[in-house]
Symmetry: C2
Subunit: 118 residues, 2 copies
DNA sequence: CGTTGACTTAGAGTTAACTCTAACTTGTAT
DNA sequence: ATACAAGTTAGAGTTAACTCTAAGTCAACG
């Protein structure tokens, strides 16, 4: 799969994909005879995973750390699990806080609906 | 209330508070005889509201827009309500997506727990 | 065979949201 | 009175995460 197809498939610009490779988020991307990148379904699954971590507010630096651990092989399995479990706790806290903010926002909108805001 | 007290009460640095004032997020802050800022409980309620919008990922530019509308008085009530209702829809979408990501993350962690990750 | 479009690189530029610095003034404690 | 903490301003610097530019290569099309 070439740059253009992969880019539109994952919804990231070619700039961003090259940037991710540059900072080590995406490794060992294959090249064809003319030096162009060739993406595989393995790259697709990895980028989708990276996107989910990013969308749940994990900094790229921490995703890099996960990538580095993965690169290190089986010996890092426990560290990777711990990293994801920490992220899960953060995510749960985040969702809880967003729900509380939503309730506050609904209260505020109710004041507008009742004409109590001037 | 002086800068230091207000700063620690709202959890924003003095730098940030001055910055918010500079960009028009915080208006008409009172001054004492020596030119130092004096914050009121009205400022406190407003900043807490701003913080909630910010924590729910509303860009400062859009919060500025709300501030501007508020400044314009009663004639902008409907616009402000519409802005908050749009934000509410965004927030609900965000929470839904985060919950879905959480489920995916839990699945991934389960793979680790079952020793299915190498 | 020449243009078009997609690709390559290194490195510069952008954006949002702060965060800090320099130079200075003012209020409080010893 | 003098040190020290806290405040002031304008404007410069930082950070994360892109985003773009310049200069070039390469394959396919008419």
């Amino acid at each position: 799969m070439n740059m253009k197809e992969f880019s539109s498939l994952v919804g990231l610009s070619s700039y961003t994909l090259r940037y991710y490779e540059k900072i080590g988020l995406l490794k060992n991307v294959q090249r064809n005879s003319s030096g162009h990148r060739v993406y595989t379904s393995k790259d697709l699954r990895w980028i989708e995973f990276v996107k989910r971590l990013k969308d749940t507010a994990m900094p790229l630096e921490e995703i890099q750390e996960y990538a580095r651990l993965r690169e290190a092989g089986s010996s890092s399995v426990l560290q990777r699990q711990a990293l994801l479990e920490k992220h899960k706790r953060n995510l749960i806290d985040h969702i809880t806080q967003q729900q509380s903010h939503l309730a506050d926002l609904e209260d505020k909108i109710d004041l507008y609906k009742k004409g109590k805001v001037r």
